[in-house]
Symmetry: C2
Subunit: 367 residues, 2 copies
Amino acid sequence: MRTLTVDLGERSYPIYIGAGLLARADLFKAHLTGRQVAIVTNETVAPLYLQKLEASLSGCELMAIVLPDGEAFKTWETLQLIFDGLLQARHDRRTTVIALGGGVIGDMAGFAAACYQRGVDFIQVPTTLLSQVDSSVGGKTGINHPLGKNMVGAFYQPQAVIIDTAVLATLPARELSAGLAEVIKYGLICDEDFLAWLEQHIDALRALDGQALIEAIERSCAAKARVVGADERESGLRAILNLGHTFGHAIETHMGYGVWLHGEAVGAGTAMALEMSTRLGWISSDERDRALRLLIKAGLPVVPPAEMTPEHFLEHMAVDKKVLDGRLRLVLLRRMGDATVTDEFPREVLDATLSADYRALVAQLDQ
Amino acid sequence: MRTLTVDLGERSYPIYIGAGLLARADLFKAHLTGRQVAIVTNETVAPLYLQKLEASLSGCELMAIVLPDGEAFKTWETLQLIFDGLLQARHDRRTTVIALGGGVIGDMAGFAAACYQRGVDFIQVPTTLLSQVDSSVGGKTGINHPLGKNMVGAFYQPQAVIIDTAVLATLPARELSAGLAEVIKYGLICDEDFLAWLEQHIDALRALDGQALIEAIERSCAAKARVVGADERESGLRAILNLGHTFGHAIETHMGYGVWLHGEAVGAGTAMALEMSTRLGWISSDERDRALRLLIKAGLPVVPPAEMTPEHFLEHMAVDKKVLDGRLRLVLLRRMGDATVTDEFPREVLDATLSADYRALVAQLDQ
């Protein structure tokens, strides 16, 4: 088992990474304050792993809240089911909410924990690669609003993140690829060595090689913990974690939550950020192409939806949380392995990026 | 103008108290970060004070969100109207939400500010006596759930509390009395001198004497600031501010939100807490009667609803936020001016308190 720490003063917490951690009752019990535990999970994950987790929590006053599966359910209505369950079972302020699932479950269970009786403990047990390397670490919680993704939420840190890599065995290949979008992101924004490592191990990762997975998850979580430790509430640096996300959120919102997986939208959004960084002259077209090849080898889309016009993108991007005083700020690459958040770009370059021919860009990769 | 400080380290903020502060543009502008301001108010307050506040905010990118009035609207559905308004007007993370209204508006606008884009600035401008002396100070925000009052919310501190005592001129007498319930509370829980002062000035307060109001509000806010400064997240001491509230919340929940005003329910709930403290032998029946007389002179009910049985109370009190590991904790008086939060009471004394004859208790006061 590997152990990392997210260093946030009195809100610091450990990340445990290893195969089979769901069965480690000692890990869970070390992080419970009271006797009550509410496991929040979904209809897909519950039949696979709920019993195993419940076995590790024997002796607790235990309840399970099983939600419908998917980004389309990351809404107030679904969140309300968590509050209903907690209140009906009379869970008090010393209860612990455990999120057993992917990013949607983690975001919703975390936000419910942040709000229930103005805040109770919670533990993240992420079951998708995307949530293991990204959303379970750092305390961003929330739900979607019809007008924008993650627009309602809280910064609220868990007591611990417990990552059982064995659960990836049941993860659909499409979801694994979606998680790789965020793994590749860390290489692009802050770790060029990791990018090189990923180029060598991308096939092993897609084949679920245990050692490769642990290595990739640990390096990803370490990068995330570093950034979050330096800027918990995204007043500056933390925004670099949003590489590809401003374009990606526009895709998710436009297409309808859940039609594109978050990681897929980030894949195409990252391609757009790469293209824009190239047009600004910050990275070369060879560097852009190297990153595009890696995204494609990871099984990710790098072409935005044909039905989305530049106007569609601009409309959705106007409500991005990085907009300040009316100015759009984007995460772009100054160099490979070095991202920046900036509003200093000519409007024409953004327009050209939004109307670029990404199909042609992919076609020329093979030449 | 009087100025107090709520001392919470980097989350410290001032409370300004005085007649005519709504017109003090300088006070408001000193606490704005960005150019956008969203005033959240209700249909009752807007016609009276919205224009005056807007005049003090000239030059800002201003919007007003006018909600229906009343505790019955302290729900997710109403909260959603705030998020809708903010998103439609494309307010960003640097916006400031200003709560212009009573406790319901302050709680909802504060919770919206806590959650919108995971947290934006807000300023409390309380317009009822109750919100001026209690709910606007200390950062408790939230909404009601059908199964319990304030069950969903956040601890989220404002940038400033701006209390214009002149607005009390338009407050209905019933609301003024409701506010006095919380004023009297501070005397009972931590300031016996203030209790004696209140006995002398209760008629002046009900007659809206300007100096008496400022004095009562300042002493109340100072008491609240002291308690909150010592225990922001209610891990201990802060719970004493809930004197009468556990019984009172049961009344509010049972009768339907808004049928009894919060302060009225606290009045009757305080009578019950006084009776229980007397039955435990902690205060004398003379002391109880002295406090009951003050509550009655303030225009408050001290008899719980005839239709509520002890079973009704127990059912609603079981979901109180002070319940820990299944044990009910109550705020009771050890002495006049000295409250405690305790689960150490014989069950029979609670049962006797719930089935006591409060009409008879009032009747004997006049003998």
